[in-house]
């Protein structure tokens, strides 16, 4: 859960907490804190950048619905950025160059991942896979993200950063805005179908 305020030139304030289960409670106090630290009010904001995932659905929805509601209430645009692109950009800021991989934890022994030629050039679409199944595709490449750190047998050259930073995401957003580049729609990249068990008919209660 990460929130930041960016003025087009630099990050004015940022708050990042790693707690996968309390996004709903942490986000608005963090926004309030970030604005307070920067001496700004929500009404000063001229645009919202939001991570569209892939990532755990519940937290993803908290971020997306908050961004959408802010956008509607304030009358400002909401821009989506793939979460993996945000981490790749942060990796660039941390000094990672050349081809590398971003991999985050998708749980169920899988990772969300994509390959990048450089911090702003993804060469594959975000995907969800078992690490062993993508071992060849990522072999020998530096890897960033918490998913890479979880599977050292596949990702043999793990680098920082581990987590998303809203500061980096906002900075990437500001860059794209300045360039007039396209944004993704602020919609979730789920990558998996919803878990939905079809009840197997009704259970007979009388012995046959």
């Amino acid at each position: 859960m990460t929130a930041a305020l960016h003025d087009g030139g630099r990050v004015l304030a940022e708050s990042t907490v790693v707690d996968a289960r309390r996004h709903g409670e942490l986000l608005m106090p963090a926004v309030d804190r970030v604005l307070g630290e920067a001496g700004a009010a929500i009404g000063d904001v001229t645009g919202i950048v939001v991570g569209t995932g892939p990532g755990p659905y519940t937290g993803l929805r908290v971020g997306l619905v908050t961004a959408a509601a802010f956008g509607d209430a304030l009358g400002v645009p909401v821009h989506g950025i793939c979460t993996l692109d945000g981490i790749a950009y942060a990796a660039g800021l941390a000094g990672v160059e050349g081809p590398f991989v971003v991999a985050t934890d998708a749980r169920r022994k899988e990772v969300y991942w994509a390959r990048y030629d450089s911090p702003r050039e993804p060469v594959t679409e975000p995907a969800v896979d078992r690490p062993a199944d993508i071992a060849q595709a990522v072999a020998g490449l530096p890897a960033v993200g918490a998913g890479a750190a979880l599977y050292p047998e596949v990702f043999t050259d793990v680098r920082a950063p581990e987590h998303q930073s809203a500061g980096a995401l906002a900075a990437l957003g500001a860059l794209r805005l300045a360039e007039g580049a396209e944004f993704a729609p602020p919609l979730p990249l789920y990558l998996r179908r919803p878990d939905a068990q079809v009840p197997a008919g009704y259970k007979a209660v009388l012995p046959k």
């Binding site: 986000l27 802010f70 939905a196 009704y202």
Partner: protein, 372 residues
């Protein structure tokens, strides 16, 4: 009256994205987007599908409600939202949206209880609730008898189901009879052509030593399934209308009998019935008959207000504003098992009862003036 509180309410505890706007006791808008069709083929609400649908529907439904009410978001006196009980992921979409609107618009946020909202919605239909009010809430998620001396702060559970909710029993019996999902309206429709006395199905928890206000529908559901299976096994036709009518009669007989008893034993002369099952025509007619016999005034809102909707949340929010109840803090959690005794949720910063000695350090409630 223009000085009555203007409140927008958001409800996402199950499969309906509801946004309502009320001014005091007046309903201005009731916008609902339902994902029920997406769940039908699963025979029940699938939480992940519901959460996905809420996210898509949230902002458009709010825009629709504001347009329908003909008010500007900036005119609102507060934003209320269901904080629980309900599906955790679904609740969280509504709570997050409510926070963002409240924060961006500089309005107080009210996290309220879904069940109390079901009761309070009747103010939009029949005016101020008498205090106390007895409430029977019946739906696919709840079957409760509640005594409400103050709908904004004091709601007491007298009894509830010990197994299935009444609405669940309707769904399961509809499945046994092959009537589809949701089962309530289908059973009601078929029951109209049937004889409610054709089959004597059991009345759960009505013995002299049983809990007087608790319900049980699991045994009834099983009895219906056994009866239907026995018919089929013996190569006999299943009289769908008679089974539906007899099952429905068993449910509403128990519900109304216990509700009337609760009114009498607590000296309450008003009974409110809410929740999706309150749309059942036989429940309405039997309740009316028995209330008249007992000298009790029955209050049942129109069907659209009985099922889950945003207007009910707005109604409770407006009452909270009118009575100067504390608003919620920005760390308001969504609580899937919020007890009905917690009518509103002032937020995490609020002290737990056992921490009262420290309460002065922790209370940090928001008023309209210090939102930022």
């Amino acid at each position: 009256m223009a000085d009555e509180p203007l409140v927008l309410g958001i409800e996402t505890s199950c499969d309906e994205t509801g946004v309502g706007i009320v001014r005091g006791h007046t309903l201005l808008a009731d916008a609902v987007a339902s994902s029920v069709d997406d769940h039908a083929r699963y025979g029940g609400v699938v939480p992940e599908i519901a959460s996905r649908a809420h996210l898509e529907a949230m902002v458009p439904t709010i825009q629709r409600a504001l347009k329908e009410a003909g008010v500007a978001a900036s005119d609102l006196d507060g934003i209320a939202v269901t904080a629980g009980p309900g599906l955790a992921g679904a609740l969280l979409v509504g709570v997050s949206a409510a926070k963002a609107y409240a924060y961006a618009l500089g309005k107080p946020l009210y996290g309220v209880n879904h069940l109390a909202s079901h009761i309070c919605v009747d103010q939009l239909e029949h005016g101020a609730l008498p205090e106390p009010t007895m409430a029977l809430l019946v739906s696919g998620g709840h079957s409760s008898l509640l005594l409400a001396p103050d709908i904004t702060s004091d709601v007491r559970p007298l009894g509830s189901t010990i197994d299935d909710a009444a609405g669940e029993a309707f769904d399961k019996v509809a499945r046994v009879l092959g009537l589809g999902f949701p089962g309530g309206p289908a059973v009601d429709r078929h029951a109209r052509d049937g004889d409610p006395k054709a089959i004597r199905f059991p009345r759960g928890l009505t013995g002299p030593r049983d809990a007087p206000y608790d319900f049980s529908f699991s045994g009834l559901k099983t009895a219906v399934a056994r009866w239907v299976e026995a018919q089929r096994r013996d190569g006999l036709d299943v009289p769908v209308a008679d089974v539906a009518a007899s099952f429905q009669e068993a449910v509403v007989d128990v519900l109304t009998r216990k509700a009337i008893r609760a009114c009498k034993e607590h000296g309450v002369d008003h009974l409110m019935i809410g929740g999706g099952v309150a749309a059942n025509s036989r429940l309405r007619s039997l309740a009316l008959e028995r209330c008249e016999d007992a000298g009790i005034v029955l209050r049942v809102p129109r069907r659209a207000l009985c099922t889950d909707n945003g207007a009910m949340v707005a109604a409770l929010g407006a009452e909270m504003v009118a009575r100067n109840r504390p608003s919620s803090t920005w760390d308001l959690p969504a609580d899937s098992s919020l007890p009905v005794t917690e009518v509103s949720v002032p937020g995490h910063s609020h002290p737990h009862p056992e921490e009262h000695t420290h309460s002065h350090d922790h209370v940090h409630e928001l008023s309209k003036d210090n939102l930022y």
